[in-house]
């Protein structure tokens, strides 16, 4: 910028006071100044009050109110000052062309190309080795580093801890007797010994419902699976793995609260509605000689949502 523009006092845009576009506040600067001063004063008081409230450890709502009010008054005052009492313009600034000249572009392209070809391409061996080294670095970064973040899935996803003869217990480890539930009752159960561990709870969780008195056949071939109306399904939704925790007693429906998949417990928990693709796997049960509920065997398929390795 030249000296002339620095010292020049070019006329500022002026608007006459009867200009309809001129804000009323700008027409009465003295009054506006007083209002802004009042805002700053209130702002300072509120921020001070916030300090006191923080010091005295008062309720969060007092902290929020004083801090919010303080910043509001300060902000309001500052904006009003900028809007009404500072030069508004409109001012203009030239927008310089960002692009360089054709010659400068050519010069850069030529330098990159020429140095690249002459200096780098002449040393093909070095270039090749460097590229190879970087490639190996990439593989090293990808393989052992990422690989070390966790174990391989192997068959983890297809297994639960339900075994042949597993004792059915609730979250407190209490076994389930024949008269534990009234018809319509529901209990979340685990195989005994795994009921307190979060890791195993996540896969073993099973919803036990007494649908009726008398044996229940949910599907052909599952004749003995639900003795005396006690029917058990995996509690892990086949859609996204949420616990299927809502039970509609009248209609005998299990509902997943996450995405509203609905399963009918009377016919093998086939999804009646919603995005779940598969029935909840059913756990075959029996009462042992002491009258406690046990699993005939584990689930006959992987529980929970689908994944590539699931056949």
């Amino acid at each position: 910028m030249s000296d002339e523009t620095h010292s020049a006092r070019s006329p500022l845009p002026v608007a006459s006071l009867d200009d309809p576009q001129l804000q009323i506040a700008a027409r009465f600067p003295r009054r506006t100044e007083n209002i802004i001063a009042l805002n700053f004063l209130l702002g300072l008081l509120c921020v001070g009050a916030f300090g006191a409230a923080f010091w005295q450890n008062w309720a969060p709502w007092i902290l929020g109110l004083t801090f919010g009010a303080g910043t509001f008054f300060l902000g309001f005052g500052l904006i009003a000052w900028g809007k009404y009492l500072m030069p508004q313009g409109p001012f203009v600034e030239e927008r310089h062309v960002l692009a360089s000249t054709e010659a400068e572009r050519d010069s850069m392209a030529a330098a990159v190309l020429q140095r690249g070809t002459v200096v780098v391409r002449r040393r093909k061996l070095l270039g090749g080795l460097l590229a190879g080294g970087l490639g190996i670095f990439g593989i090293v970064a990808a393989f052992p580093l990422i690989r070390s973040l966790g174990p391989l899935p192997k068959t983890t996803l297809t297994k639960t801890n339900w075994r042949r003869g597993s004792l059915v217990v609730d979250a407190n480890g209490r076994p389930v007797r024949r008269d534990e539930l009234q018809p319509g009752g529901l209990l979340t159960v685990f195989p005994a010994g795994y009921e307190t561990n979060e890791e195993t709870q996540a896969v073993d969780q099973t919803v036990l419902i007494r649908a009726q008195t008398g044996d229940l056949v949910t599907e052909p071939g599952r004749g003995s699976w639900a003795p005396d109306g006690y029917v058990a399904y995996s509690k892990v939704c086949t859609h996204l793995g949420c616990p299927v925790g809502l039970y509609e007693q009248q209609l005998k429906l299990l509902v997943c609260p996450c995405h509203q998949s609905i399963f009918n417990i009377l016919d093998g928990a086939v999804p009646k509605f919603g995005p779940a693709p598969r029935p909840l796997p059913q756990l075959p049960l029996y009462f042992d000689d002491s009258g406690y509920l046990r699993a005939q065997r584990g689930y006959d398929q992987p529980i929970g949502p689908g994944f590539w390795e699931r056949s």
Binding site: A15, S16, F72, G75, F91, V92, P257, C258
Partner: protein, 525 residues
């Protein structure tokens, strides 16, 4: 340098004189300029012009929310422990006392009840994240509908979208950290979504979670991503976003004296600085009021996350709603065959759908260029109506996302209106196709209509004065123009070196008003 200048000044007056006409400030600027050469560029920077329009403040809301997030976030890290180790809760919240909880949950409850100002900070942090993402989305819509992404700003559009993507991720991760029942369910859903990716899914899930779900690794891992990795990338990208904004200068709407070769508005110093700092205070104020007066995410009511427990009406934060909505309305199209399973009912809505939406957004400047063959540089903004096809396309996509957002409340809507869940679900399956098409077509039509509306469109309607002549004829005559209806724009001028309220020829009376030669009081604009 002359020997006199080196001589120690003897009197106060001499000392002042030695500092030069601008005193200590001038001296300080001189010293700084000797070392950094800031004076020339700094002087230009003071004159930098920022165009005035309300929609140009949307990005500022996002920027200031980010600052608030950083400050409140640092406060939270002082008290939060990212660990799933179990402890017995002995804190001040009576209903939880004696229960086994994780350290992450216990410390978050502690922040809410025992730490001084903790609940305010936690709630401000959460509200601020919601405001941050809201501001980003609306800011992005403004950029899109006014064509501000066109050459030369495609790179900044890309940076902005990356910011949105990473902010979405960081919002979700932050929501997962307290290890309460609702956030734990969110992590469970995330795990299943990763699991749904064909071929790699189970490996990715195991590497990210450090083993099968839930494991003890995920909370510490999400923590370091939430407080270090993503914020660092966000801060760097925001820096780049602003650098490009300064380098390329702001766009502006067409108007008097506004061309492709200039910028018209308020100068950086003092006008813009005052207004934008005030605006920062305002954003802080709204966040503080929300954080202090409006409860958000009361994790002590939800309880500790347990894999076998679940809460009713589980909803993510608003910006995840669109994904939750598509997951709900997707038909159960699982593919099984050749010894493998592809859970399309998860993979399509949760991975492919957002992938398509973001690819479309990232690619939009290129897609539009394919059709318009426009390779010109643009600094003047479009009015949305003047680009009906772009506006219609944007409105259709926005409508699609709004509809899927609505679909994330199927259960709540069914409950509220006492209709069957089935009916609500099927309505959304239809709406998600019908609404975007309708909105697109209607928007396109409206744009065309508006184009033909003439120059007075959008201004206040003038009342018609209907009079009856003696012959019984009725005449409608438009009334006088009311104050404010006429749009008189001043001719913009360069920022003068010395912003002087008094040019010496006129007497300054009150503030910045002065009577001119005819005695009319005028205000310096």
């Amino acid at each position: 340098m002359t020997p006199t200048a080196l001589r120690r000044p003897r009197t106060k007056r001499e000392a002042t004189a030695a500092l030069g006409p601008y005193g200590r400030l001038g001296k300080a600027i001189g010293e700084l300029d000797d070392r950094l050469g800031i004076a020339k560029g700094g002087r230009t920077f003071l004159d930098k012009i920022f165009p005035d329009h309300w929609s140009f403040m949307l990005g500022e809301i996002a920027l200031y929310s980010f600052v608030i997030l950083m400050v409140t976030g640092v406060y939270l890290t002082l008290y939060y422990v990212p660990s799933t180790a179990e402890v017995i809760y002995h804190g001040v919240y009576a209903p939880l006392r004696g229960q086994r909880v994780t350290e992450a949950y216990a410390t978050t409850v502690n922040i809410s009840f025992a730490v001084r100002g903790g609940l305010l900070m936690r709630q401000m942090h959460h509200w601020s994240a919601d405001v941050f993402l809201g501001a980003i989305v609306i800011h992005m819509a403004r950029i899109f509908f006014t064509g501000a992404f066109r050459k030369p700003r495609e790179l900044n559009w890309t940076i902005g979208l990356t910011l949105l993507l990473l902010s979405l991720a960081n919002g979700f991760i932050g929501y997962s950290l307290p290890d309460d029942l609702i956030s734990g369910t969110g992590i469970r859903i995330l795990y299943s979504i990763i699991l749904s990716i064909p071929l790699l899914g189970s490996y990715l899930a195991f590497f990210i979670f450090g083993g099968p779900y839930p494991g003890n690794e995920i909370i510490p891992r999400l923590f370091i991503i939430h407080v270090l990795v993503l914020p660092a990338i966000l801060a760097a990208l925001i820096g780049g976003h602003l650098f490009l904004l300064v380098r390329q200068k702001h766009t502006q709407f067409p108007g008097k004296g506004k061309t492709e070769h200039n910028v018209v508005g308020s100068p950086m110093f003092p006008t813009f600085i005052a207004k934008t700092t005030g605006f920062f205070f305002m954003v802080t104020s709204v966040t503080a009021l929300l954080g202090g007066l409006a409860q958000i995410n009361p994790i002590w009511q939800f309880g500790q996350y347990r894999p076998a427990k679940i809460s009713y009406a589980v909803q993510p934060d608003w910006y995840m709603g669109w994904l939750d909505g598509v997951l709900r309305i997707m038909p159960s199209w699982e593919f099984t065959g050749f010894g493998h399973t592809i859970p399309f009912e998860v993979f399509l809505p949760a991975v492919v759908f957002p992938g398509i939406i973001f690819t479309l957004c990232f690619g939009w400047p290129a897609i539009e260029r394919l059709f318009t063959k426009d390779n010109e540089i643009h600094h003047l903004l479009d009015r949305p109506r003047d680009r009906p096809k772009r506006t219609a396309a944007g409105a259709a996509v926005a409508a699609l996302l709004f509809t899927t957002f609505g679909a994330s409340a199927t259960d709540v809507l069914a409950n509220f209106f006492h209709v069957s869940l089935n009916a609500v679900l099927w309505s959304f399956r239809v709406l998600v196709i019908v609404v975007p098409i309708l909105v697109g077509v209607i928007t396109w039509k409206i744009c065309l209509e508006l184009q033909h509306g003439g120059p007075d469109l959008g201004k206040r309607k003038r009342a018609m004065v209907v009079t009856r002549t003696a012959a019984g004829e009725y005449r409608a005559v438009p009334s006088e123009i009311r104050p404010g209806d006429e749009h008189r724009e001043l001719e913009p001028v360069p920022v003068p070196a010395l912003i002087d309220l008094d040019d010496g020829s006129l007497e300054v009376t009150a503030g910045n008003t002065r009577p001119d030669a005819e005695g009319v009081r005028r205000v310096i604009r």
